[in-house]
Each structure stands twice: as C-alpha cells, then as structure tokens.
C-alpha cells in the first residue's frame, strides 16, 4: 500500500482548507495512506529566506527530521512548501558544513536529520506512483464535457524541473483526462500569479491574475484547476477586485485539481470543502448530483 508522511502547511489549515479536505478525501478513496507529520511547523516560506537563510532552512528541516523517523516520503500539496522543503534538502546535500550547522540547530530541539527524505507533490504522486491508468479504473462519474484550464503555477515545475517539463507540464492534464474531463489549451499554465505580491504590490498582482483569468475564458474553460493555495486565493478571492479594476465580469470558479478528481471518484462536494469556495463551481457540482443517481 502507498503511504506518505503528510505535510499540509499553514495555508491548508485555513485559507486553503478545501485543498486539505479534498487531498485527504481523494487519497483515502484511492487507498493511499497519509500520516500527518506530528506537530509540524511552518516551512519558512519565501519570507524567512528573505531574512535569515540558515534559520529558514533549520526550521524547515525540523519537519524533515520528524518525517525521517516515520520512514516515509513526504507529500506536500502546497507548491510553496513543496519547493522550500526540496530546497532545504538540496542545500543540506550540497555542503557538509551547512548540514552540520543545521543539525546543531536541530539538536537544540533534540532532533537530527541525517538522511535525505524525498519530498513529493500530490500531482506527481497520483500521476506516477498511483498511476493514471489505475485512476481511470476508479472513476464512478466520468466528467464528460467538463472543460478545465490546468493551471500549474510556478513552484511545481520550477526551479529544478524535476517532475515535469518546465514549459509544458502535462501530469495534471493527464489526471484530468483520466477522470473524463477535458483540459483546455492553456498557454499560461506555468505563469506566475504574483503570490504574496497581492498583499504588497496589488496593482501588479491584479494584472497578472487578469491575464490568467482571461486566457482561461478565451479558451472556453468552465473553471480553472490549481495545485497551489496562493494561486487559488489570488485567482478566486480577488476576482471581484479584478472585475472592478479592469471593468470585467468574470465569474470563473477556481478549484483545486483534487476537487475535480474527487467528484469523479464519487466524493460529495461538501466533504471536500467545495461549499467554502467564493465562486461556486456549479458545473462540477452537477456531476456530483448525477453520480448519486
């Protein structure tokens, strides 16, 4: 049986709780085990890296040290956490002196990190470890005619491009196709949503998100599927502001890719927090009604 050490990250506790709920529900429906890393802490995000690098890596490594003792690979759904945890591993493997310093800091908490625990994104886990063909077999309600813009964002494919092509990743496309949905042509699939710029440089971030919404609409998507809490919040939560600033009338649902898979697997929308979205994905929810019949 597949099993992973689960690292939800801070966003999935609150703003991205629908992501957390849907990942847990989908993994459970597919029989993939998730054991939450006990008392996990913030990965440091992009913020700590701007202040003190060694502290950022040391606190990030605390999570990896706990996962190491669980003997499992880590599953990190938040793209930012995913990249930070992977960068921590890379940094530790790069220079023995850095590893030593980080371990000295960890020792202050009675921990040590001596191996390299692999950190994985659920898109990769589902597409590769579980397998697209196996997923196809589990579909209860094929999402025929549902057009989805697959939006990968930055940090799944960059900076290292180890799980997919950096220009044209396809793993999420394959997952969506496996459950009967139609991934539309979406040229900005790896463009940046601005991330934290929505807080610090709103005008810049609004423009980036306008382009992402426009491309989805132009290509006939019923909704955007994301794999990152910040992308989802910017695209959905600031849609009203974008409409106001640029005189548009977008009303485009922005779900997590796991929501699309979950509905096809017969999971109820409320069980995945779909009722918490600001723009209800009516077309997706309609399949849930069909699935019950």
């Amino acid at each position: 049986m597949l099993e992973y050490a689960y690292y939800p990250g801070c966003s999935l506790e609150h703003s991205a709780s629908p992501y957390d709920q849907s990942i847990r529900a989908v993994f459970s429906a597919l029989g993939i085990g998730l054991r939450e890393i006990e008392d996990w802490n913030c990965c440091g995000a992009t913020m700590y890296m701007s202040v003190k690098k060694i502290i950022g890596y040391a606190i990030s490594a605390r999570n990896l040290a706990i996962a190491q003792d669980m003997g499992l690979e880590v599953c990190a759904p938040c793209s930012s956490c995913y990249t930070i945890l992977r960068k921590t591993n890379r940094h530790i493997a790069w220079e023995p002196k850095e590893r030593q310093k980080i371990n000295e800091a960890l020792a202050a908490a009675g921990l040590s990190y001596n191996t390299i625990v692999e950190v994985r994104h659920p898109v990769d886990i589902l597409a590769v470890d579980f397998g697209v063909d196996e997923l196809k077999k589990r579909v209860k309600a094929p999402l025929k005619g549902l057009k989805v813009a697959p939006y990968y964002g930055c940090q799944i494919v960059r900076p290292h491009g180890h799980i997919d092509d950096i220009d044209d990743p396809v793993k999420m496309d394959k997952l969506l196709t496996a459950v009967g949905a139609e991934p539309v042509h979406y040229p900005p699939k790896v463009r940046c949503c601005g991330g934290m710029l929505m807080t610090t440089q709103e005008d810049v971030a609004l423009k980036l998100n306008l382009e992402l919404l426009q491309a989805a609409e132009d290509n006939g998507a019923h909704m955007i599927a994301t794999a990152c809490p910040l992308c989802q919040m910017n695209l959905e939560g600031y849609q009203k502001k974008i409409n106001k600033s640029f005189r548009r009338d977008f009303n485009l649902p922005v779900v997590y890719f796991s929501h699309v898979l979950g509905i096809a697997l017969g999971i109820r929308p409320e069980a995945m927090g779909l009722d918490k979205l600001l723009v209800p994905p009516l077309k997706l929810n309609a399949f849930a009604e069909g699935a019950r019949v």
Partner: protein, 195 residues
C-alpha cells in the same frame, strides 16, 4: 605589470564583501560571475515591467559598484519568487536566489527603498513563526496593513469577511504543541551570526 586595484568607498566595499559572502553560501551562487548581460532574465520575468531596475541591470550595477542603489530600488522586493529567470538563464545563474541574498543584505544593513515598506511583511512573518511556529494569516495581514497602508486594510475588508464567513480565515492563531522546539532551533541557528 602592476595590477590595477579598483577601490570602493567603505560602505560599498562592505556591501560587496557581504554580497560575496552571501553568493558563496548557496549552490551555484558564484555563477553570477558568468553573467553575459543578455537580458534573458529580464525578458522571462513577469514583473520586470514594474521594476525600476531590471534583473539584468542589477548585475550591471553591481559590477559598476552600486550595490546600494540596488538595495534602494524596489526590484528585489518585487520579485515574486517564480524562478522563471533561473530556469532560463543560459549560464545557470541562480537569479532568484541571488535576489534573496540581496534581500537578506538589505534586511541586515537596514537599507530599504523609500516609501516602499514591503520588507516589513517578511519581518512580521518571522515574528509569527517565532511566536506560534506557524503562519497566522489574519494576524500577518492585519499587522502588515496597519504598519504600511491603512487604506488597504479597508479595501481588503470585504475579501477578509467573505473568507471568514466560509471558514477559510482563522480568527486565532494555531500554536504548535512544542513551540519551544522551534524557538530553540531559531535561537541556536541565529548564533551562527549569518544574514
């Protein structure tokens, strides 16, 4: 022939020393020396249009001895960390990581752009982590807007309220059970005295 040594004013010389220190402290950091000024980083950057100094120009300014001008620009604080430049650079310079290095120098030396208090967000964030062990979204947002842009606090009120109504914005922070572990790690790591 006698080697010509370029000398910088003391402040610039200190900043250069800090910079070289920083780029030697992450993988491939020293590849910055290979920059051929092609401008691919600037072309790949989704926010370079809004920068006062482009990513390519930061390297040119560094070479010309103007690190302080880079730190006083908005550029390093506009980077959203999307890594487009990093994957595109033809000589493999870690542009994003280099901008992080410059942010750390700016924080350490307290050299910031005028009327552009973006760095306070990072500072607030680290305080949250020390206090709770996790990020506290609502607290972070409130603290940031109070400190920087009071008007934004109101313009984001509707968004905040709709998130709270749907249970997507925690009113209270979630604290680690063993938050003392985090604090001990932070204190110990800080003893290394690195920026």
């Amino acid at each position: 022939m006698k080697e010509t040594i370029m000398t910088f004013p003391k402040k610039e010389a200190d900043l250069r020393a800090a910079f070289w220190d920083q780029v030697s402290s992450f993988p491939d950091g020293e590849k910055i020396k290979l920059c051929l000024q092609c401008g691919t980083c600037t072309g790949a950057c989704p926010v370079s249009y809004a920068m006062d100094i482009t990513p390519r120009q930061t390297v040119a300014l560094f070479r010309a001895g103007h690190i302080e001008r880079i730190l006083r620009s908005r550029t390093i604080w506009l980077c959203a960390s999307c890594y487009s430049c990093t994957v595109r650079c033809p000589v493999g310079i870690k542009v994003t990581d280099t901008l992080y290095a410059l942010k750390r120098i700016a924080m350490d030396k307290k050299i910031y752009p005028a009327r552009f208090p973006v760095h306070t967000l990072s500072r607030s964030f680290t305080k949250n982590v020390y206090k709770y062990g996790r990020n506290y979204e609502l607290g972070l947002g409130l603290r940031y807007f109070f400190a920087t842009d009071f008007v934004k606090l109101f313009s984001n009120f509707g968004f905040g309220l709709s998130m709270i109504r749907r249970g997507r914005m925690g009113l209270f922070p979630k604290k680690l059970k063993r938050v003392n572990q985090i604090r001990a790690i932070i204190k110990k790591a800080d003893e290394f005295g690195e920026a």
